[in-house]
Symmetry: D2
Subunit: 160 residues, 4 copies
């Protein structure tokens, strides 16, 4: 509730000390994208909300590459909704251009999972967008935050 009253979003991530796993890796998962017409806006560039779709796709495909099918994960009664998004837009991406959405899990703290993002050109010399997305584990049936992440997910994330 105090969070809700404060729209300035102070980064109080450091408060949560009960981290069960520090899993920062140097390696990024790379997900290629192409700017199609439906991604653009009147400025001829990618609309700022489109990046959230790409970041979600990259995250789901990163998990799939590690053996976790998010569709199955949901069928098993789990869910990983987004609870926080922080994005910086550095350069615009234009209609028809190609880019790489780079993502890596930065950290797990309790049932929170932090994913970092960099969206760059193919050479990696230009960064269009950088960001972080925070997920939290949910028990779909109870509609509540889980007390701990399910083993099938932790086993997958350890591979990162």
């Amino acid at each position: 509730m105090s969070e809700a009253e404060n729209p300035q979003l102070p980064p109080n991530m450091e408060i949560e000390l009960d981290e069960s796993l520090h899993a920062t890796t140097e390696k990024w998962f790379e997900y290629p994208v192409v700017v199609h017409p439906h991604h653009t806006d009147y400025g001829g560039i990618v609309w700022h909300g489109t990046y959230l779709s790409w970041m979600e796709e990259a995250r789901v495909e990163c998990l799939r590459s590690l053996g976790l099918d998010y569709g199955n994960f949901v069928k098993l009664g789990y869910e990983l909704p987004v609870v926080e998004v922080n994005i910086r837009y550095h350069q615009s991406l234009k209609m028809g251009e190609q880019a790489i959405v780079k993502t890596r899990m930065n950290n797990i703290q309790g049932v929170r999972i932090y994913w970092d993002y960099q969206i760059t050109n193919w050479r990696g010399s230009t960064t269009y967008v950088s960001g972080r997305v925070t997920l939290v584990g949910i028990d779909r049936e109870k509609g509540k935050i889980m007390r701990q992440l399910p083993p099938m997910l932790l086993d997958t994330l350890v591979k990162l």
Copy 2:
């Protein structure tokens, strides 16, 4: 560039001291929304990216209520792209539910404009989402950040 290298997004807003206008107001502009099927995802709740559409609509309609038509603004060669987004998701909004997107300009610093958001139920007793969006003034022809915001915009924002 150093921004791009740091995806943790340290909140360095306070560095920019050349503020030309401190315009925080107590008053929120209120923009009502209804959750339609296309706003939802498999969880039966609003997909996290949908909120960016609503926040953009609320911002554009807030400016319109002050006499600035954003469509005209663009035709005149200006643009206010989003350069930073910070969103916290507190409670989910379900299919068919109604909510109020509350927005207010928090501050102008140089050519940067900060908008705060709270998305709540009608009574204001539940906050679903809170966030901040940062815009920057762009000269469309030059494709560059403006040295100062155009008077027609500043005159409008002062009304806030």
Copy 3:
């Protein structure tokens, strides 16, 4: 299945003769829209898929105006998915422009409901888009087409 083999989509609606209700009305339900940045594409006009969102919103709000809350309808175990869409794009709608999405139920045939659309300017002198959307009643639990539409829906639609 034979439908699936034929992508040319012959209009075989006339085959279904078991119509339970002929409900064409002269009166259109009117749903106003404004073209915001997220609705547009690189051409500065509304992206062609955006219209489906607006048509869905207009349909849901038309039902609400008749006393049927679609969110409740879904909670009760029913659903009205789209099974066919036919749209013609006559004129483009530009960034910042306003329009009216006009819709009316054209007909009910068994568990199929046909909705007609015209998206025009405020005066009605320019038609941007015209179209038809076909819905079918589904029992969510069984995942099957209903044998007949639920009375609460028929009672609502008769008001049209």
Copy 4:
């Protein structure tokens, strides 16, 4: 205008007899897709409008496979907006599932290009969606329909 008055959309394609190229091919271009959370709605299935995004992506990638970069095409002052869409939804596609968007150019009549679609499972044994999309060549500067399609496009389409 008479089109606009008739939302029933009679298929009057056969009226246009000045066809410059009959190019129906047996071969489909295949574009794989995965159902990510942002593609779904409250029913746990792909929202009906999402298919238009996939159909656009498949079309643009089909042209790219033939040597035509749509981004460049736009930069050269041309555009191929959608003027008609006809879609039938046969089976729903669920969260996490994979599918193939199959597309082929069916015909060119004057400056109109007809694309057929079938969205199926990998084996091709289930068809989720079938449809047709009609494009028309536009001169971006004049904002008008072209008298004939530019040679660079015709040369590409002949390869189909």
